[in-house]
Symmetry: C2
DNA sequence: GCGGTAAACGACACTCATTGTCGCATGGAT
DNA sequence: ATCCATGCGACAATGAGTGTCGTTTACCGC
């Protein structure tokens, strides 16, 4: 792309900044030369050395003082977005952060911090001294469970192995605290259930698909040379649908239930299904009709209303609720 | 910052790209000159005009053909991160997206798309043809309610008014479908409850704080000149704590409950509280002890287990659960 | 329709930032 | 100790980027 007014230098410098990895990883000027050449920038190594030194005066770059220099962004370098973040996106990040705080492992959540900082900066730039902190909140509508503590490196390794479709070696702590070591973990998929992160994988030479809690790994080391083995006919969606994670997908049913008016209020605004209908009853309750899947979660959700709901149809579900209620009473029978 | 080897041009071009807003907004070369000058780059307007034309050959920029040209990034322009996204962050975005899909209004969720694209690109760059799509899933651990449909412009306007602490005019549809018009909405805070987004605001000349469902706004127009009025002694946290959103914060209690073993399994890994303890009982159940807040959500969560849980302490809560169970049975009494 | 104003743009010459080359210093490996 | 690769200072060449100026274009008020 050599032309008059091409700003080739500027474009190359931007590409240089893009190619630089963040701290733990580094890149040598030689490698950088190849990468840039692949993007159409053919320059001398000397120029790249100079550029890196120059750029490091304006951006938080650093290099290990090794012989083939390894350059990288400093670990806490701010993120610069092109185009930079607009207020609406900044708001989305703020709100997302509120939602995610109890849902994502802490180390993954921390990955968003530079973006949140970018959001604040994007706002601060335009003479708005204001901060979101005083202006957005979340009111939990579920019980806040503590997300498991985790290890940043291990999650990163597992994610990278999954991505690169290679194995990793690992030590793992069982539910009963027994420690096991695996020579080859063949990662198949990551599954989130609430805040819990599961890895589906086959182990060593075995064929069966196992669920491993990511936060139970004690160590994980990438084996880039060891390609992952994929079991024949593995179908992630089918695995989940069939109940691999305790929540098998149920059949669609036509739910009819009577709610106390207050209890069902927010159903108006966040409906259960697209075809949901709510009509007033004579006794002050409301009748909800909706097509939903017949799952354990549905029961759990209905039970949460306590005596605030009465299932009318289907009859089987009504019977089940009634039976559950009787067993609850029995639980609390006087001794 | 004029110096030998300063790469002043390149730095200025990067800053130019940063200052360019995304599509609906535009910036004129004149304004750009002032902005750049504020960052220490003093150049002729002619140069900026040239730069913009040059840059638009390499980046998706466009200008309305108005007389003072308005330049901007094209609406679907990809995001370039400096430093670019690493695989672990890309993974975090993927997982976050899974969590957020049912929680954020669609138009806010869409704000993340460029970042997800950047994530894919970051991976694709390093010869990994691989896509996350087949490898990450979420298993919902709550009933999936439909997030309300919303309007991108209205959310953006509300967010911006909140941020800039100015009013906006609006038309609003009440719960009972009556339409109201407000000359001045004074935005105080945004509150998320599940997927529902509420604006706390005072209206026109009134002093009382109202809750407005953002997705019920029919229109919203920013009034940048009209500064927001803040009621005296408004305390967002206090407002929520006192039950402004139906979930008043309860007193800490010492919960003791017996769970069926299977039901409590995941409590091991995502505890209720930091001091939670779980011990086996003789009858095959487990005894959970934890300090939690005595809230409606707690009841709702406990009820969800149906007969799978028995609250032992505190006595008041036990009595309440027992009473609820009796009323449930009564609900389902044979006609 | 018409003149006035402001912005955009083409042309051009100047200059200095950027680059490749070369030579020397440094440091690790054989 | 020697060799090789790398980093870096110096320097000269050149051409990219800049300000200036003059012309063209579009818009606005009268």
């Amino acid at each position: 792309m050599p032309d008059r007014d091409s700003h080739e230098t500027a474009l190359r410098l931007i590409e240089t900044l893009r190619q630089l990895p963040r701290y733990p990883k580094v890149i040598t000027p030689q490698e950088l030369r190849d990468r840039l050449a692949a993007h159409g920038f053919k320059v001398d190594i000397r120029t790249i050395q100079r550029n890196l030194n120059d750029l490091s005066r304006y951006y938080p770059l650093c290099n290990d003082e090794k012989k083939p220099q390894g350059w990288c962004w400093m670990p806490n370098a701010d993120i610069t977005d092109l185009p930079s973040m607009d207020p609406a996106t900044a708001l989305a990040f703020r709100l997302a952060r509120l939602h995610l705080a109890p849902l994502l492992p802490a180390t993954l959540l921390a990955r968003f911090d530079p973006y949140l900082k970018a959001a604040d900066r994007a706002l601060g730039d335009s003479d708005l001294t204001y901060r979101w902190a005083d202006k957005v909140r979340m009111v939990p509508n579920g019980l806040a469970l503590r997300p498991p503590t985790d290890n940043a490196e291990i999650i990163a390794t597992v994610g990278e192995a999954l991505l690169r479709e290679c194995c990793f070696t690992a030590r793992y702590r069982n539910r009963d605290d027994a420690e096991r070591a695996f020579q080859r973990v063949h990662p198949l998929a990551l599954v989130l259930r609430g805040p819990a992160l599961y890895l589906l994988a086959t182990l060593d030479d075995f064929e069966d698909v196992r669920q491993l809690r990511v936060h139970r790994f004690l160590s994980a080391d990438l084996q880039p040379e060891q390609p992952r083995r994929l079991p024949e006919n593995f179908d992630l969606d089918a695995y989940i649908r069939k109940g691999g994670f305790e929540y098998p997908e149920g059949e669609p049913i036509q739910l009819v239930a009577l709610f106390q008016r207050g209890a069902a209020r927010h159903l108006d605004e966040t409906p259960l299904s697209d075809d949901q209908r709510i009509v007033d009853e004579d006794d002050g309750r409301v009748r909800l009709t909706a097509t939903v899947n017949d799952t354990a979660l549905l029961r759990w959700w209905l039970l949460g209303f306590g005596a605030g709901v009465e299932v009318r149809e289907p009859a089987a579900l009504r019977a089940e609720m009634a039976e559950t209620a009787r067993r609850m009473v029995w639980r609390y029978r006087p001794a």
